[in-house]
């Protein structure tokens, strides 16, 4: 958490002469802090629900003080079945904390749930597509940045416009195409799809970053006997590292968070966590502590990445249009 305390660098240019009055500052601070606290209530509530027992999670009035429980986490990672008292008594003592918690509700742990495999799918698909889209993006961005490409503006616009399509509209033909090609519900299919969506962002952002590297660096290297490709690899790529990392994190976050394609095109084998978490159910409806626990675990990587990214956030969300 302490890393968040560092103010974002790009966001702290101070006005010099026209300084707001102390009263204006205090008023502004009060409103902003109030908003920030209010906006974080749902997130705090997710965190609290994750460590509540199911009865506590649905009590009225909502409980702020409660006995923490690991039932939510256990329910997230296991599937359980209800058993008769006689059968439960005949069993050996519970081996794990989750066994113990299930016994208290007259249940036994049957197997592991699908949460971990779905989480793993999210990881593989997010990292795979990021690697591919940034790899392709950095090459295209370099070409657009340094060479005279006929119809450059049109091509750049074409690349961007592919991102404007409503996912549902593209999902119909992709669904049919993947069925023909045997890519339905496969990780490879999802990696290709997310790469195609992300490559537009990658090209636009990376072109901005590469534009900022002076051409003289490569020209000097080429005078020293490097070929164009060597100069690209040994001069431009190292110079663009920050930009590449920032772009990669943006692609990663998109692929990690994506829901529309995932829910329409995957159902088992390649299903990611976002379509899975909402359908975690317990006995008699949604198991909210388990959902909250699954949500929290899923959000933590993004919280870390947001902190890492904060200096490039603005640039990323505006496709490089605003650079400060």
């Amino acid at each position: 958490m302490s890393a968040i305390l560092v103010p974002p660098k790009g966001l702290s240019t101070a006005h010099s002469v026209v300084e707001p009055t102390a009263f204006a500052k205090r008023l502004a601070a009060t409103v902003v802090v109030l908003y920030a606290v209010l906006t974080l209530v749902p997130l705090v509530w997710i965190a609290l629900t994750a460590i509540k027992s199911p009865p506590d999670s649905i009590s009225y009035p909502p409980k702020v003080v409660f006995q923490p429980s690991i039932e939510g986490l256990c329910n997230l990672f296991t599937t359980r079945s209800r058993q008769t008292e006689e059968y439960l008594k005949s069993l050996p003592p519970p081996a794990t904390v989750c066994d113990e918690s299930a016994r208290r509700n007259s249940m036994v742990v049957v197997s592991r749930s699908n949460y971990l495999p779905r989480f793993a799918n999210s990881l593989v698909i997010a990292f795979g597509s990021t690697l591919l889209s940034v790899g392709l993006g950095v090459m295209a961005a370099y070409a657009f940045s340094r060479f005279k490409v006929p119809g450059k503006d049109d091509l750049m616009f074409f690349i961007l416009s592919t991102r404007m399509m409503p996912p549902i509209a593209v999902a119909i033909p992709i669904y049919l195409m993947y069925r023909e090609l045997g890519l339905s519900d496969t990780k490879l299919g999802m990696i290709l799809l997310y790469s195609a969506v992300n490559v537009s962002l990658a090209v636009w952002l990376l072109k901005g970053f590469i534009d900022e590297i002076p051409r003289e660096y490569e020209e000097a290297a080429m005078v020293d006997g490097y070929t164009r490709l060597q100069a690209f690899r040994k001069v431009v790529l190292p110079q663009a590292t920050t930009g590449i990392v920032a772009t990669a994190i943006f692609c990663l976050i998109f692929a990690w968070n994506e829901y529309a394609f995932a829910v329409l095109l995957t159902s088992g084998e390649a299903q990611t966590a976002p379509p899975f978490i909402p359908i975690i159910i317990g006995e008699g409806g949604q198991d909210w502590p388990a959902v909250a626990a699954g949500t929290m675990l899923f959000l933590i990587p993004i919280l870390v990445f947001t902190v890492l990214l904060r200096r490039h956030l603005l640039r990323g969300i505006t496709f490089g249009a605003v650079r400060k």
Partner: protein, 312 residues
Amino acid sequence: MMAERAARSTPAPLALRMRGLSDRAIAWLFIAPTMLLLLAINIFPLIWTVRLSFTNFRANRPNAEIVGVGIDHYVAILTDPDVWGPMQATAHFLFWTILLQTLIGFTLAYLIDRKFRGHGFWTTLILIPMMLSPAVVGNFWAFLYQPQIGLFNYIVSFATGIAPSSFEMLGSVKLAPWSIIIVDTWMWTPYVMLICLAGLRSIPDYIYEAAEVDRASAWRQFWSITLPMVLPFIMLAVLFRGIENFKMFDLVNLLTNGGPGSTTEVVSITLKREAFEKWRTGYSSALAIILFVAVFGLANIYVKALNAVKNR
């Protein structure tokens, strides 16, 4: 060999170009893979959609005979009064989310720009919701909206005295559209705020200093300096939000799934119902194409505005 000899006997810049691949070759070699991927995953399917939109094809009956129906689907969609329901739902959603997010976002940015102590820390906290997965977090809002046990109803009842079980955010025809607007505003206000903040920070101090010298009132400074100079940034934010929310799917799908009835059925939900529930692939392809043309139009305007902001 030839190339080597030629390279040695030509002046330096030309020689550079002769060694290894030519710049032209590299340019195409570097751009081609991206283009191929986009052609395969975006353009080819799009052309396929266009073709399907003129047929009665149903994806759940792949072996049935495909009959061409001409532009029947397009005529049906554009003359069907029922299609205006989703359009209106989308317009209502777009209008209110953009209005609220712009007002709150700009206000917050303006206040943060007063540079009170610790503003960087609070800014980072405010930004968190927009980075999270709309589906995963939006799903949790369904829990907050539960009558009686939900935190949202409880807080509203605490603040206003209305009984928490007397209203249902997701189940009532009147409130359901607002339940989605609230979550979207909660999520994306930071986005507008961040862009507005960049706009405010881009105004050079000397303009305000000159205004001070001219004894312009604070009010006057706001209307004739601050607002006009931030306006392009606000427009940019509005366009981005507009395009994104035109495509809105995840929050609505998880919170109300278009219900109750079809009060919150935005166009993406209609498309999902037609394509993946009723399996009217031909009809939904035509609808998808109409939507795509609309978004493409928006995208065009957006790129122009983007360039205008860039070239300032």
